[in-house]
Symmetry: C2
Subunit: 171 residues, 2 copies
Protein backbone atom coordinates (compact mmCIF):
# COMPACT_ATOMS: atom_id res chain seq x y z
CA UNK A 1 0.00 0.00 0.00
CA UNK A 2 1.32 3.42 -0.86
CA UNK A 3 1.12 6.24 1.64
CA UNK A 4 -1.82 8.62 1.77
CA UNK A 5 -1.91 10.77 -1.40
CA UNK A 6 -3.84 13.60 0.18
CA UNK A 7 -2.23 15.60 2.98
CA UNK A 8 -4.85 18.01 4.34
CA UNK A 9 -3.18 21.17 2.96
CA UNK A 10 -3.21 19.88 -0.62
CA UNK A 11 -5.94 21.08 -2.96
CA UNK A 12 -8.18 18.37 -4.41
CA UNK A 13 -9.31 18.68 -8.03
CA UNK A 14 -12.86 19.17 -6.77
CA UNK A 15 -11.73 22.06 -4.55
CA UNK A 16 -10.97 24.08 -7.68
CA UNK A 17 -14.49 23.97 -9.13
CA UNK A 18 -16.33 27.31 -8.93
CA UNK A 19 -19.01 27.44 -6.24
CA UNK A 20 -21.86 26.95 -8.74
CA UNK A 21 -20.38 23.58 -9.74
CA UNK A 22 -19.46 22.39 -6.25
CA UNK A 23 -22.75 20.79 -5.19
CA UNK A 24 -22.31 17.33 -6.74
CA UNK A 25 -23.80 14.57 -4.55
CA UNK A 26 -20.65 12.50 -5.07
CA UNK A 27 -17.89 15.08 -4.73
CA UNK A 28 -19.24 18.58 -4.15
CA UNK A 29 -17.65 20.41 -1.22
CA UNK A 30 -20.86 22.44 -0.84
CA UNK A 31 -23.27 19.46 -0.71
CA UNK A 32 -24.01 18.88 2.97
CA UNK A 33 -25.54 15.44 2.26
CA UNK A 34 -22.97 14.23 -0.26
CA UNK A 35 -20.02 11.82 -0.28
CA UNK A 36 -17.33 14.55 -0.58
CA UNK A 37 -14.92 12.47 -2.63
CA UNK A 38 -11.59 14.30 -3.07
CA UNK A 39 -9.12 13.35 -5.81
CA UNK A 40 -5.42 14.17 -6.18
CA UNK A 41 -2.47 13.52 -8.44
CA UNK A 42 -0.11 10.77 -7.29
CA UNK A 43 2.57 10.75 -9.99
CA UNK A 44 0.93 9.84 -13.29
CA UNK A 45 -2.04 8.34 -11.48
CA UNK A 46 -4.85 10.03 -9.63
CA UNK A 47 -5.89 8.83 -6.20
CA UNK A 48 -8.78 9.18 -3.79
CA UNK A 49 -9.57 7.50 -0.52
CA UNK A 50 -13.04 6.84 0.83
CA UNK A 51 -14.36 4.98 3.83
CA UNK A 52 -17.96 3.88 3.23
CA UNK A 53 -20.38 4.43 6.08
CA UNK A 54 -22.02 1.43 7.77
CA UNK A 55 -25.25 2.05 5.84
CA UNK A 56 -23.48 1.98 2.45
CA UNK A 57 -23.99 -1.76 2.15
CA UNK A 58 -25.27 -4.15 -0.49
CA UNK A 59 -25.75 -7.18 1.75
CA UNK A 60 -24.24 -7.29 5.25
CA UNK A 61 -20.45 -7.04 5.14
CA UNK A 62 -20.13 -5.73 1.57
CA UNK A 63 -20.12 -2.31 -0.05
CA UNK A 64 -23.05 -1.25 -2.20
CA UNK A 65 -22.36 -1.44 -5.93
CA UNK A 66 -24.22 1.76 -6.69
CA UNK A 67 -22.03 3.69 -4.25
CA UNK A 68 -18.93 2.17 -5.89
CA UNK A 69 -20.19 3.28 -9.31
CA UNK A 70 -20.78 6.76 -7.90
CA UNK A 71 -17.25 7.00 -6.47
CA UNK A 72 -15.75 5.80 -9.75
CA UNK A 73 -17.86 8.33 -11.64
CA UNK A 74 -16.71 11.32 -9.55
CA UNK A 75 -13.08 10.20 -9.41
CA UNK A 76 -13.10 9.89 -13.20
CA UNK A 77 -14.65 13.30 -13.90
CA UNK A 78 -12.18 14.84 -11.43
CA UNK A 79 -9.32 13.04 -13.17
CA UNK A 80 -10.61 14.27 -16.54
CA UNK A 81 -10.64 17.87 -15.26
CA UNK A 82 -7.11 17.56 -13.90
CA UNK A 83 -5.72 15.82 -16.99
CA UNK A 84 -7.31 18.27 -19.46
CA UNK A 85 -6.11 21.13 -17.25
CA UNK A 86 -2.58 19.75 -17.11
CA UNK A 87 -2.55 19.29 -20.90
CA UNK A 88 -3.41 23.00 -21.16
CA UNK A 89 -0.77 23.99 -18.60
CA UNK A 90 -3.12 24.44 -15.63
CA UNK A 91 -2.63 22.56 -12.38
CA UNK A 92 -5.14 22.27 -9.54
CA UNK A 93 -4.27 25.17 -7.29
CA UNK A 94 -2.90 27.58 -9.88
CA UNK A 95 -5.98 28.08 -12.03
CA UNK A 96 -9.53 26.90 -12.71
CA UNK A 97 -9.84 23.36 -14.08
CA UNK A 98 -12.36 22.61 -16.83
CA UNK A 99 -15.47 20.75 -15.64
CA UNK A 100 -16.31 17.36 -17.15
CA UNK A 101 -19.42 15.20 -16.91
CA UNK A 102 -19.98 11.53 -17.69
CA UNK A 103 -21.10 10.34 -21.10
CA UNK A 104 -20.82 6.64 -20.28
CA UNK A 105 -19.74 4.49 -17.40
CA UNK A 106 -18.80 0.84 -17.29
CA UNK A 107 -18.17 -0.92 -14.01
CA UNK A 108 -16.98 -4.51 -13.55
CA UNK A 109 -17.42 -5.94 -10.06
CA UNK A 110 -14.59 -8.44 -9.93
CA UNK A 111 -15.22 -9.61 -6.39
CA UNK A 112 -17.25 -8.44 -3.38
CA UNK A 113 -15.82 -5.27 -1.76
CA UNK A 114 -15.63 -5.67 2.03
CA UNK A 115 -17.40 -2.98 4.07
CA UNK A 116 -15.12 -1.49 6.72
CA UNK A 117 -11.68 -0.77 5.27
CA UNK A 118 -10.82 2.51 3.60
CA UNK A 119 -11.09 2.17 -0.19
CA UNK A 120 -8.21 3.17 -2.45
CA UNK A 121 -9.31 4.56 -5.84
CA UNK A 122 -6.77 4.96 -8.63
CA UNK A 123 -7.32 6.64 -11.99
CA UNK A 124 -5.34 6.60 -15.24
CA UNK A 125 -6.24 8.39 -18.43
CA UNK A 126 -6.53 6.28 -21.58
CA UNK A 127 -6.95 9.35 -23.81
CA UNK A 128 -7.05 13.10 -23.24
CA UNK A 129 -8.39 15.85 -25.46
CA UNK A 130 -9.85 19.24 -24.70
CA UNK A 131 -13.42 17.90 -25.09
CA UNK A 132 -13.19 14.24 -24.07
CA UNK A 133 -11.15 12.22 -21.60
CA UNK A 134 -11.34 8.44 -21.08
CA UNK A 135 -10.39 7.32 -17.58
CA UNK A 136 -9.74 3.86 -16.18
CA UNK A 137 -10.35 3.51 -12.46
CA UNK A 138 -9.67 0.75 -9.96
CA UNK A 139 -11.05 0.38 -6.46
CA UNK A 140 -9.02 -1.62 -3.95
CA UNK A 141 -9.78 -2.74 -0.40
CA UNK A 142 -7.06 -4.21 1.81
CA UNK A 143 -4.65 -3.94 -1.13
CA UNK A 144 -6.78 -6.05 -3.48
CA UNK A 145 -8.55 -4.61 -6.53
CA UNK A 146 -12.25 -5.45 -6.28
CA UNK A 147 -13.79 -3.21 -8.96
CA UNK A 148 -12.71 -1.75 -12.29
CA UNK A 149 -14.35 1.11 -14.14
CA UNK A 150 -14.01 2.80 -17.50
CA UNK A 151 -15.54 6.25 -17.80
CA UNK A 152 -15.95 8.43 -20.88
CA UNK A 153 -15.97 12.04 -19.70
CA UNK A 154 -16.96 15.03 -21.82
CA UNK A 155 -16.78 18.77 -21.23
CA UNK A 156 -19.79 20.18 -19.40
CA UNK A 157 -22.29 20.97 -22.18
CA UNK A 158 -23.76 24.46 -22.60
CA UNK A 159 -27.18 23.10 -21.58
CA UNK A 160 -25.88 22.27 -18.09
CA UNK A 161 -24.09 25.55 -17.41
CA UNK A 162 -25.58 27.94 -14.87
CA UNK A 163 -27.58 30.69 -16.60
CA UNK A 164 -25.50 33.40 -14.98
CA UNK A 165 -22.18 31.85 -15.98
CA UNK A 166 -19.47 30.80 -13.56
CA UNK A 167 -18.56 32.82 -10.52
CA UNK A 168 -15.69 32.59 -8.11
CA UNK A 169 -14.41 29.87 -5.87
CA UNK A 170 -14.94 31.15 -2.34
CA UNK A 171 -13.15 28.30 -0.65
Amino acid sequence: MRGPPCPPAMKAFQDTYPDELAHCFGCGRLNAEGHHLRSFWDGEETAARFTPKPFHLAVPGFVNGGLLASLIDCHATGTAAAAAGRAAGVEAGNGPLPRFVTASLRVDYLRPTPLGPELDLRGRTASVSDRKVVVNVTVAANGEVTVRGEVVCVRLPESMRPPGGFGVNTR
Copy 2:
Protein backbone atom coordinates in the same frame (compact mmCIF):
# COMPACT_ATOMS: atom_id res chain seq x y z
CA MET B 1 -47.06 8.30 -19.72
CA ARG B 2 -48.52 5.13 -18.32
CA GLY B 3 -50.25 5.14 -14.96
CA PRO B 4 -48.42 4.41 -11.73
CA PRO B 5 -47.30 0.76 -11.65
CA CYS B 6 -47.08 0.55 -7.91
CA PRO B 7 -50.28 0.84 -5.87
CA PRO B 8 -49.35 0.85 -2.18
CA ALA B 9 -50.84 -2.58 -1.43
CA MET B 10 -48.74 -4.30 -4.10
CA LYS B 11 -45.61 -6.17 -3.05
CA ALA B 12 -42.38 -4.91 -4.62
CA PHE B 13 -39.72 -7.44 -5.62
CA GLN B 14 -37.50 -6.00 -2.88
CA ASP B 15 -40.23 -6.59 -0.28
CA THR B 16 -39.80 -10.33 -0.73
CA TYR B 17 -36.11 -10.45 0.22
CA PRO B 18 -35.46 -12.06 3.62
CA ASP B 19 -34.60 -9.57 6.37
CA GLU B 20 -30.86 -10.35 6.19
CA LEU B 21 -30.80 -9.23 2.55
CA ALA B 22 -33.02 -6.17 2.96
CA HIS B 23 -30.42 -3.56 3.96
CA CYS B 24 -29.20 -2.51 0.51
CA PHE B 25 -28.37 1.22 0.35
CA GLY B 26 -30.25 1.45 -2.96
CA CYS B 27 -33.34 -0.65 -2.32
CA GLY B 28 -33.34 -2.21 1.15
CA ARG B 29 -36.55 -1.70 3.09
CA LEU B 30 -34.54 -1.98 6.35
CA ASN B 31 -31.88 0.65 5.47
CA ALA B 32 -32.95 3.83 7.22
CA GLU B 33 -30.51 5.95 5.17
CA GLY B 34 -31.11 4.32 1.79
CA HIS B 35 -32.98 5.18 -1.40
CA HIS B 36 -35.73 2.54 -0.93
CA LEU B 37 -36.22 1.85 -4.63
CA ARG B 38 -39.22 -0.45 -5.18
CA SER B 39 -39.71 -2.39 -8.43
CA PHE B 40 -42.80 -4.07 -9.86
CA TRP B 41 -43.99 -5.97 -12.90
CA ASP B 42 -45.88 -3.91 -15.46
CA GLY B 43 -46.77 -6.46 -18.13
CA GLU B 44 -43.58 -7.83 -19.61
CA GLU B 45 -41.62 -4.84 -18.31
CA THR B 46 -40.59 -3.97 -14.81
CA ALA B 47 -41.13 -0.49 -13.46
CA ALA B 48 -40.02 1.71 -10.60
CA ARG B 49 -40.56 5.35 -9.81
CA PHE B 50 -38.19 7.57 -7.89
CA THR B 51 -38.12 11.26 -7.11
CA PRO B 52 -34.56 12.42 -6.40
CA LYS B 53 -34.09 14.66 -3.40
CA PRO B 54 -32.86 18.25 -3.91
CA PHE B 55 -29.34 17.24 -2.81
CA HIS B 56 -29.12 14.42 -5.40
CA LEU B 57 -27.64 16.76 -7.98
CA ALA B 58 -24.69 16.76 -10.34
CA VAL B 59 -24.68 20.45 -11.18
CA PRO B 60 -27.65 22.69 -10.30
CA GLY B 61 -30.82 21.54 -12.05
CA PHE B 62 -29.63 18.04 -13.01
CA VAL B 63 -29.65 14.62 -11.36
CA ASN B 64 -26.37 13.09 -10.21
CA GLY B 65 -25.07 10.37 -12.53
CA GLY B 66 -23.90 8.18 -9.68
CA LEU B 67 -27.40 8.14 -8.20
CA LEU B 68 -28.82 7.22 -11.62
CA ALA B 69 -26.34 4.34 -11.87
CA SER B 70 -27.36 3.21 -8.41
CA LEU B 71 -31.08 3.25 -9.27
CA ILE B 72 -30.42 1.32 -12.49
CA ASP B 73 -28.33 -1.19 -10.55
CA CYS B 74 -31.03 -1.93 -7.97
CA HIS B 75 -33.87 -1.96 -10.48
CA ALA B 76 -31.89 -4.47 -12.55
CA THR B 77 -31.07 -6.84 -9.69
CA GLY B 78 -34.71 -6.67 -8.60
CA THR B 79 -35.81 -7.41 -12.17
CA ALA B 80 -33.37 -10.33 -12.29
CA ALA B 81 -34.83 -11.76 -9.08
CA ALA B 82 -38.38 -11.43 -10.39
CA ALA B 83 -37.58 -12.84 -13.83
CA ALA B 84 -35.62 -15.82 -12.50
CA GLY B 85 -38.40 -16.40 -9.98
CA ARG B 86 -41.09 -16.23 -12.65
CA ALA B 87 -39.12 -18.65 -14.85
CA ALA B 88 -39.17 -21.08 -11.89
CA GLY B 89 -42.87 -20.51 -11.23
CA VAL B 90 -42.48 -18.14 -8.28
CA GLU B 91 -44.06 -14.69 -8.28
CA ALA B 92 -43.29 -11.87 -5.85
CA GLY B 93 -45.83 -12.37 -3.08
CA ASN B 94 -46.27 -16.13 -3.32
CA GLY B 95 -42.74 -17.25 -2.48
CA PRO B 96 -39.17 -16.12 -1.91
CA LEU B 97 -37.41 -14.70 -4.96
CA PRO B 98 -33.74 -15.58 -5.60
CA ARG B 99 -31.30 -12.77 -4.80
CA PHE B 100 -29.05 -11.42 -7.56
CA VAL B 101 -26.05 -9.09 -7.44
CA THR B 102 -24.33 -7.12 -10.18
CA ALA B 103 -21.39 -8.51 -12.14
CA SER B 104 -21.17 -5.56 -14.52
CA LEU B 105 -22.98 -2.34 -15.20
CA ARG B 106 -22.94 -0.10 -18.23
CA VAL B 107 -24.69 3.25 -18.19
CA ASP B 108 -25.05 5.67 -21.12
CA TYR B 109 -26.07 9.19 -20.22
CA LEU B 110 -27.92 10.25 -23.36
CA ARG B 111 -28.84 13.73 -22.13
CA PRO B 112 -28.94 15.58 -18.82
CA THR B 113 -31.68 14.34 -16.46
CA PRO B 114 -33.62 17.26 -14.97
CA LEU B 115 -33.80 17.37 -11.18
CA GLY B 116 -37.36 17.75 -9.94
CA PRO B 117 -39.70 15.42 -11.85
CA GLU B 118 -40.37 11.85 -10.75
CA LEU B 119 -38.18 9.45 -12.72
CA ASP B 120 -39.71 6.47 -14.54
CA LEU B 121 -37.44 3.40 -14.64
CA ARG B 122 -38.27 0.53 -16.99
CA GLY B 123 -36.54 -2.85 -17.17
CA ARG B 124 -36.56 -5.61 -19.76
CA THR B 125 -34.67 -8.86 -19.61
CA ALA B 126 -32.37 -9.66 -22.52
CA SER B 127 -31.64 -13.18 -21.20
CA VAL B 128 -32.73 -15.21 -18.19
CA SER B 129 -31.16 -18.27 -16.65
CA ASP B 130 -31.12 -19.60 -13.12
CA ARG B 131 -27.63 -18.15 -12.50
CA LYS B 132 -27.46 -15.08 -14.73
CA VAL B 133 -29.91 -12.47 -15.98
CA VAL B 134 -29.10 -9.57 -18.33
CA VAL B 135 -31.37 -6.56 -17.89
CA ASN B 136 -31.77 -3.43 -20.01
CA VAL B 137 -33.04 -0.41 -18.13
CA THR B 138 -34.18 3.03 -19.22
CA VAL B 139 -34.70 6.12 -17.08
CA ALA B 140 -37.14 8.74 -18.30
CA ALA B 141 -38.00 12.20 -17.00
CA ASN B 142 -41.02 14.11 -18.29
CA GLY B 143 -41.64 11.24 -20.74
CA GLU B 144 -38.20 11.45 -22.36
CA VAL B 145 -35.55 8.74 -21.93
CA THR B 146 -32.38 10.35 -20.57
CA VAL B 147 -30.30 7.33 -19.51
CA ARG B 148 -29.90 3.73 -20.66
CA GLY B 149 -28.29 0.92 -18.70
CA GLU B 150 -27.30 -2.68 -19.29
CA VAL B 151 -26.71 -4.79 -16.22
CA VAL B 152 -25.36 -8.33 -15.96
CA CYS B 153 -26.78 -9.84 -12.78
CA VAL B 154 -25.61 -13.09 -11.19
CA ARG B 155 -26.95 -15.17 -8.32
CA LEU B 156 -25.69 -14.06 -4.92
CA PRO B 157 -22.42 -15.97 -4.46
CA GLU B 158 -21.82 -18.19 -1.44
CA SER B 159 -19.14 -15.76 -0.23
CA MET B 160 -21.75 -13.03 0.25
CA ARG B 161 -24.34 -15.11 2.05
CA PRO B 162 -24.93 -14.50 5.74
CA PRO B 163 -23.05 -17.07 7.88
CA GLY B 164 -26.26 -18.17 9.58
CA GLY B 165 -28.17 -18.67 6.33
CA PHE B 166 -31.37 -16.90 5.42
CA GLY B 167 -34.12 -16.27 7.90
CA VAL B 168 -37.64 -15.08 7.50
CA ASN B 169 -39.19 -12.00 6.01
CA THR B 170 -40.81 -10.17 8.91
CA ARG B 171 -42.44 -7.52 6.81
